[in-house]
């Protein structure tokens, strides 16, 4: 390969897909939807959604959401290229009503965060306009991210600046910039170029400004009168585009979506269905699905998770990174690539394996990630038996039936296990007898105390079934020489082993409903209120009719009135199903 072609190749890899689409004017749905490489996954072809799901179950409140760190990074990467580093620009969102995404609707920005944001914006702007590295045959990003060359690189060039600002601004602000705004930004670029004697430095200062602009960082639902419902309001077309994009792709809209918004297609049922179908056919859907489940499963807790190396020497930092990745790969392959029943995630033996995970699963190490299927009869059945669930919900040096049971209740069934009362004296249930060797024996002893029994019976019967896996998620048949009893019950359904627990969860009525609640909340951008009950009911019914296919559920939500009509905000706190008055879940 000649140096020139090699350079071009590197340029293309670094080329932001968003600006590439803009520059090339690849605006048709099919072209843009298929132009984003890098993934093998795409949703199956759209089919007619269940009738119940498209019923008019009302709109949702207009919200102002702060971007998550991932959404900010995804947006930058889409527009400017994956190799632009985005360091610590935004802080994680607070978990609200079971999702970090729901915290976006209430979180503020502190002074310190804005300072950090500015610093990050400066770094990103410098990268976008870098001069490349001829020695390493890396093309200057400015050559392909800026759609024109200034007449004199040491001076202002209003026409070239305007071209870049219009293109980039449209993607960052998720709508075409008003002429006055463009004029103001061009003037900023001119002032910068003149004072700094550098066209690109002037442009860089404008990029920095854009990247700290709340119009970019805060995803504001803008409303307008609804011509089809006099007296009511609806989201404007660009706000619909943003909701769709952050829901399905976890990033800002692309050219295709913005063009559809400009044409008013997103405010018609037919037009929105067409656009949603194209979005779901895009490989970018994988980003959206991964992001949703990463949030729903509480995987942000992997940050800072560590295991005692003396107890679990086979667990490294890479093991925990791969554990998270394994579950997300399993989810995407199962739900998107193969379009299988959501509930089967908890009974499937099909997954992926990596070299770092092999010692924990006690299987032959592979070269890189490979598909893997546990044999029939193996205790590895479904997500509950994956290292991500087992290690995340355990102590650093031992398992925890209570933590695992609590996580199952709260994360997968949307039930609330209340916190223990502050004045519980745990000394009454401390392990007084070394002869109690297994968790079941210890927890049975705890349950002799009625203060503790009420709560532990909520979490422990299913958590104890997972005691065959230690705190790192490694299988064990016995603990301290005692064969483990892994029988139990889940809300009245008895089981005799881990596979039985997975089946009981699979069959639990709250499992699919919980997913519907979380996904609807995630898509519409805030915590649920009672006003959302009709939507949850209708969607749950349709989800069941469609065989619990997650892409169908996403499609139903994205094409529903929730993504168009606006209702008043109901000041309702997050609601989850309560179980008992208290529990001692933090302690065990």
């Amino acid at each position: 390969m000649s140096p020139v072609s090699n350079l071009e190749s590197k340029s293309r890899r670094r080329f932001g897909a968003g600006l590439r689409a803009s520059v090339a004017s690849l605006l048709t749905l099919g072209v843009v939807a298929c132009s984003d490489g890098g993934s093998e996954h795409a949703a199956p072809a759209a089919k007619a959604p269940a009738t119940a799901a498209v019923a008019d179950f009302g709109g949702t409140p207009a919200r102002v959401r702060r971007m998550s760190p991932e959404q900010y990074a995804n947006t930058i990467h889409y527009i400017f290229g994956d190799d632009v580093r985005v360091v610590a620009a935004l802080t994680p969102l607070p978990r609200t009503d079971g999702l970090q995404a729901s915290g976006a609707a209430s979180v503020g920005m502190t002074i310190g965060e804005i300072q950090q944001l500015q610093s990050s914006a400066s770094s990103i702007a410098a990268q976008i306009l870098d001069k490349g590295n001829p020695g390493e045959r890396i093309a200057p990003r400015r050559d392909y991210l800026v759609p024109c060359k200034p007449a004199n690189p040491a001076a202002a060039d209003d026409a070239c600046a305007a071209k870049f600002i219009k293109q980039t601004g449209r993607l960052l602000y998720r709508r075409a910039l008003p002429e006055a705004t463009v004029a103001g930004l061009v003037a900023d670029a001119k002032r910068g170029a003149t004072n700094l004697k550098d066209f690109y430095a002037g442009l860089g200062s404008v990029i920095e400004g854009m990247l700290i602009d709340p119009n970019v960082l805060m995803i504001a639902d803008v409303t307008e009168p609804d011509p089809n419902n006099p007296g009511k309001r609806r989201l404007d077309s660009y706000s619909v585009a943003a909701r769709l994009s952050f829901f399905l792709w976890n990033a800002g809209p692309d050219e295709m979506l913005l063009t559809a918004a400009e044409k008013g297609e997103l405010q018609t049922t037919k037009g929105r269905a067409k656009v949603v179908a194209a979005m779901m056919a895009s490989p970018r859907l994988e980003h959206g699905v991964r992001s949703f489940f990463d949030d729903m499963f509480g995987f942000e807790e992997f940050i800072g998770l560590a295991k005692d190396p003396a107890t679990y020497p086979m667990v490294t930092g890479q093991t925990l990174i791969d554990a998270r990745e394994q579950t997300l790969r399993t989810v995407v392959a199962h739900l998107v690539t193969r379009n299988e029943d959501y509930r089967d995630l908890f009974t499937t033996r099909t997954t992926f394996m990596s070299p770092a995970l092999a010692p924990v699963y006690q299987v032959q190490p592979s070269l890189g990630w490979v598909p893997y299927e546990f044999p029939a009869g193996s205790p590895r059945v479904g997500l509950l038996s994956q290292v991500s669930f087992l290690a995340l919900h355990a102590h650093p040096a031992r398992s925890s039936a209570t933590k695992r049971g609590k996580a199952l209740r709260e994360l997968l069934l949307c039930q609330k296990v209340p916190a223990p009362p502050a004045n519980v004296d745990f000394s009454a249930v401390e392990n007084p007898d070394a002869r109690l060797r297994t968790a079941r024996e210890r927890l049975n002893f705890h349950s002799q105390n009625p203060v503790c029994a009420g709560c532990h019976k909520i979490t422990d019967p299913m958590g104890l079934a997972l005691e065959q896996f230690d705190g790192a998620g490694r299988f064990r048949a016995s603990e301290k020489g005692v064969q483990l009893d892994v029988t139990g019950t889940l809300d009245g359904k008895a089981f005799s082993d881990v596979a039985g627990l997975g089946q009981a969860l699979h069959d639990h009525a709250a499992l699919p409903t919980c997913l519907v609640r979380r996904m609807y909340s995630y898509g519409t951008g805030g915590p649920l209120s009672r006003a959302d009950d009709p939507a949850i009911k209708a969607l749950s019914s349709a989800f069941a009719q469609d065989g619990y296919k997650v892409p169908d559920l996403m499609r139903m939500i994205a094409t529903s009135d929730a993504f168009l009509e606006v209702v008043e905000r109901v000041p309702s706190p997050a609601r989850t199903a309560g179980l008992t008055s208290h529990s001692a879940v933090e302690a065990n």
């Binding site: 919200r63 102002v64 360091v87 802080t91 994680p92 607070p94 209430s106 979180v107 503020g108 920005m109 502190t110 002074i111 310190g112 965060e113 804005i114 300072q115 500015q118 610093s119 103001g184 900023d188 002032r191 910068g192 004072n195 700094l196 430095a201 002037g202 200062s205 404008v206 920095e208 400004g209 700290i212 602009d213 709340p214 119009n215 805060m218 504001a220 803008v222 940050i303 800072g304 560590a306 005692d308 003396a310 107890t311 930092g317 102590h395 650093p396 040096a397 031992r398 916190a419 502050a422 004045n423 004296d425 745990f426 000394s427 401390e430 392990n431 007084p432 001692a584 933090e586 302690a587």
Partner: protein, 448 residues
Amino acid sequence: MASLKDLSRRRVLRGMLNGGAVTVGLPLLNVFLNGNATAMADGAPLPVRFGTWSWGLGLNKQVFVPKKTGANFDLPEEIASLKDVQKHVNLFTNFDGFKDANPNLCHKTGWVIMRAGAAPATQTDLPGQSIDVTIAKEIAGPTRFQTLTATSTGNVRDSFSYESATSINPAEVSPLLLYAKLFGEDFQNPNAPEFKPSPRVMVRKGVLSGVMDRTNDLTKKIGSEDKARLDQYFTGLRELERQFDLALTKPEPRAACVVNPGPKDEIAPGLDYTLVGERHKMMTDLFVMALACDQTRVYNLGYAAAFSGTIKPGYEKPHHTATHEEPLDPVLGYQVNCSWFIRRQMESWAYHVKAFADFKEGDGSLLDNMLIYATTDQSLARLHQIDGLPMFLAGRAGGKIKTGYHIDGNHEAATRVGYTAMKVFGLDVPHWGEQSNRTSKEIGEVLA
């Protein structure tokens, strides 16, 4: 020298700049300090800084609370490591937090009362603002960072500093990134012989003006519930503008400012006490430099989260779990491993205080011009008690505080200590705290 003192440095620089980029030769450092370097050349005293420090899961009263009150108090086993810094600290014990009609939220109610003066109503509630934010508004002065927050846990969420319930100051978790933030390319060495205002910053300031205009436009399009969040955003942009102004002004020389090379490697993730302790040391050392170079006058450092998850090698229970599962030692009457965790934290507290005490500033130490307020989340963590709370104040606050005392609070409001700190920094507040936590009584015994 006298003629130089009469000059307004800011005015001179602005005049010379006249919107352009110039290099300004400045007089030598000693011109700007008085003879013995205890004050600025114009007679203004060296700034007094405020810090907070937090540890997890309280105390074991039997081995933490000294028998003796007042000066020269005894150091029971759990705080024996404070021997070298005893003269620099005041220890407050037996103070109470009052939940009033709110629930006692485990590992939350206690610290929120001590940091914000009021009991939270729910797990997501954070009343008012934390004391560091309040004091920063009074004393931040011409520094780059109004407050800086860091934690030794590695988790950005482990912060006790907040502007409101929805605006929590995230904790810096990486010593490398904290160093870069403090002493990276935007750092201006206050003792540099030459000062060159950055034309790039001037350009940034112009662009920022447009961002603020567009923020105002956005505010008009959204509902009233979200306007407050946009207002807060706007305040942040204003602060950014102030910092740009600051960057265009030659900083006051700081005789004590020495910038050492930054950390080379990141500490491995994890909560093993050795890792936490190492992170804590590095963060402490960075805050020493940050204060000496006047990059901030208010900082927060946490050793542990409220639900401290610190790990003792070879012991299967992390600290919080141990508080609820470890049996009381029948002879000693307390939980031995839990006490082990608290002793390690007190060692780190001693390191923290000593780092500032050993750092020379003027004719004394940096700590002489500081007040560090240390709090925890419970008293006896096993029972989630918020009565009998312990706290510390370290430093002489520019001569306004006497140190080396143990004060028994006799179950009075824990907020008295925070209120004392606020008064020391000159806040015009007739009282602090809500309901039973409201106080207007300083701790007179430690006021100089």
